[in-house]
């Protein structure tokens, strides 16, 4: 069939067949190369963070994707469609204007939820310290999940962090958790002990918009859901004998586990 074959003569059938075959082969190769090119283009930290966050969010189970208004009992059955970005959410703005009556009783969570902070779903909080600077730390559940970590790797002072990007990393045994930043800005200070660390971030202009963070009231409902999720994590063979409920969470969860805490950290600290 091909020109290098003895006594070959081109016919319409040959041309059609080769064109079809070549177009298929080119399409397949182009698709693969396009994916390679696009992923090399996405290597900038900002784009990479956004893609990783999208992948994390898309894989979250339904109960971890509840809209803040569903958590507070203002609407029924509303999974968040926006990657928890309430800044651009039309429904969030609408519901705030409507000022619906939420559930009047607050659940007893058994965790500390200070009123002077705003909360992020990756188990961090921010505490405004001045007009453009905030302090970031782990919430009470996050601290108990971390327990006594071996090492906290902080960003270098002056590094920029962005919402849902990594702001620091915790290590304990073989487990590693990328802690997600609740705000955008520049890191100006970092410190504290392994079990009670903090970051100080100077907010960027966009970072001053804090509408995406949960209020203490909303955090109370959310943390209750998170405790249920944590219980689900233990339903396998991770934690020896446990009671279904009753009592408070131990201050160092990993120390009470049979295996390392990697699975629980990945689940609760929203890892990819």
């Amino acid at each position: 069939m091909t020109p290098w074959v003895y006594e070959f003569r081109w016919e319409t059938g040959h041309i059609l067949f080769l064109l079809l075959f070549l177009s298929v082969a080119i399409t397949v190769a182009a698709a693969f190369l396009a994916a390679l090119y696009r992923s090399s283009r996405d290597r900038s930290p900002n784009l990479q963070n956004r893609i990783i966050w999208k992948a994390i969010f898309d894989e979250l189970p339904r109960e971890a994707r509840s809209c803040r208004h569903e958590l507070a009992g203002e609407v029924r059955n509303r999974p968040c469609p926006n990657g928890f970005n309430c800044r651009t959410c039309v429904t969030h703005a609408l519901l705030l204007r409507e000022n619906r009556t939420p559930i009047s009783e607050f659940p007893a969570v058994g965790l500390e939820i200070p009123e002077d902070r705003l909360y992020h779903r990756g188990h961090t909080w921010i505490k405004p310290e001045s007009e453009d600077s905030v302090r970031i730390g782990l919430d009470d559940l996050g601290k108990r999940l971390a327990g006594s970590v071996d090492q906290v790797i902080f960003p270098t002072l002056g590094d920029k962090v962005e919402v849902n990007g990594v702001c620091c990393t915790m290590k304990r045994g073989g487990a590693l958790a990328r802690i997600l930043s609740p705000v955008e800005g520049t890191v100006v200070a970092a410190g504290g002990s392994e079990s009670d660390w903090f970051l100080r971030v100077k907010l960027s202009e966009a970072g001053k918009d804090l509408r995406h963070l949960l209020t203490p009231r909303e955090a109370r409902f959310w943390l209750l859901k998170e405790l249920e999720r944590l219980q689900m994590c233990f339903s396998g063979s991770l934690a020896g004998i446990t009671l279904a409920d009753g009592g408070n969470l131990v201050p160092d969860v990993p120390s009470a586990m049979k295996e390392d805490c990697a699975m629980v950290w990945e689940e609760m600290f929203l890892q990819p």
Partner: protein, 415 residues
């Protein structure tokens, strides 16, 4: 020991238990590879095929697994092109099954050809008058497409996902899946069809020779239809089998029912075309070649029961059952019908491969019988063992069923 590699939020048994379960399959694979070595080193005299019975167990296996592997392209087409999002629950499993079926078929073809080192001849010196040229080109391309579709599934492994560049590549590659699904559909359409066309053009074998529709014989279209009807049934059966073996629910029941309904509708369409085709063959094509059609069914081994079983028992009956919602809601009926469709397609491929060659066509011909040698059986078994191993490893380490986690959670919550 391998906990850090297992998908998150789902339970898998201990590694030692898994290894123990896999060990017999490894032995079977090793036995098959030894037989393959013998065939390649000593020649095809290791088989019971000859110049008269040139197609045997291996071609039968090829035709059957390629038909059953059609679930990969039909599911991909329905999900990525027609946006039937409920199939997201089984697409990964469909891709792995497709990859196993096609790679197994290509591997056994290499042995069957006898000189795998000259496999490239088919691309360099293709014969445009042979249906097999189209089959070779499309099969090779589609295997590459399946391998590419398998890459993002591998990159979903818990450990690999933690490498940011892999995750980004998987994300970007996934966006291009509709392109690969479209290409896969075109390729599958042609190679499934050409495998059927291969028989339909054999004038010297009036048992399978068929009239042309356009440039292709009717068997071209019948093969496509039967493959896309059997693919979802095979996917349904394997999903259920994995559920039974692993002891957990992997997909919602409505997904299985959708696969059953799809298979039912398609098999009915196939049966209609097949019936019309058979009637034309009985009344026109076969007598025109000098053979009254019923002469072929005079032998007890291949009596009319085989034709009726193929069309009615394993085609029309399960098709009609799967069309009724009430019946397919019963999991036993659903599975039974899917099994009948799969068996029907396997029987069809057997008839075309073995019965065709066994029947005499010349006055001095005798009825030929063929039984595969142990080397043929071992190579066949090796493909099955390879499939079981690849699927089991994929199931253990990759999220083949995205609904598994959610179903495990709701099971826990109920408990």
């Amino acid at each position: 020991m391998d906990n850090y590699l297992l998908p998150r939020g789902v339970y898998r048994g201990p590694l030692w238990k898994f290894s123990l379960l896999m060990f017999p399959w490894v032995l079977l694979l090793a036995w098959g590879l030894y037989a393959v070595f013998l065939c390649l080193a000593e020649g095809l005299n290791q088989t019971n095929m000859d110049n008269r019975f040139a197609f045997g167990l291996w071609i039968y296996l090829d035709l059957t697994v390629i038909a059953l592997g059609a679930g990969a392209f039909s599911t991909g087409f329905l999900l990525y092109i027609l946006k039937r999002h409920e199939l997201k629950a089984v697409i990964n499993s469909a891709v792995v099954l497709g990859l196993i079926c096609y790679s197994g078929a290509v591997a056994i073809l290499m042995v069957d050809v006898g000189q795998p080192l000259r496999a490239w001849f088919t691309f360099w010196h293709p014969n445009t008058h042979s249906m097999l040229t189209e089959v070779t080109f499309c099969l090779t391309c589609y295997l590459i497409v399946l391998l590419l579709e398998y890459v993002p599934i591998v990159l979903k492994n818990r450990k690999l996902r933690q490498i940011p560049s892999f995750l980004v590549f998987e994300f970007e590659f996934h966006k291009l899946m509709p392109v690969l699904a479209g290409v896969g559909t075109v390729l599958s359409f042609f190679h499934q069809g050409s495998l059927g066309g291969l028989y339909g053009v054999m004038r010297g074998r009036p048992f399978v020779f068929r009239e042309e529709i356009g440039i292709w014989p009717s068997t071209f279209f019948l093969f496509i239809l039967s493959a896309i009807a059997a693919g979802p049934s095979f996917l349904l059966l394997t999903t259920w089998l994995v559920e039974r073996i692993s002891g957990k629910r992997l997909v919602k029941r409505d997904v299985l029912q959708f696969l059953g309904r799809l298979s039912g509708i398609l098999i009915i369409v196939y049966v209609l075309f097949k019936a019309v085709d058979t009637l034309i063959w009985i009344n026109s094509t076969s007598p025109a070649s000098g053979f009254p059609a019923f002469e072929y069914y005079e032998r007890k081994e291949f009596g009319t029961w085989i034709l009726l079983s193929e069309i009615i028992l394993f085609g029309l009956v399960p098709g009609l059952i799967l069309m009724r919602k009430r019946w397919r809601s019963d999991i036993r009926i659903l599975l039974g019908s899917a099994l009948m469709i799969v068996l029907g397609i396997a029987l069809n491929r057997f008839v075309l491969t073995i019965q065709t060659l066994a029947l005499p066509t010349l006055t001095f011909d005798k009825f030929l019988s063929y039984a595969p040698s142990w080397q043929e059986v071992a190579a066949f078994a090796a493909v099955i063992a390879y499939g079981v191993l690849l699927y089991s490893i994929s199931f253990r380490y990759l999220p083949l069923f995205p609904q598994e986690r959610e179903m495990a959670r709701s099971q826990e919550a109920r408990a």
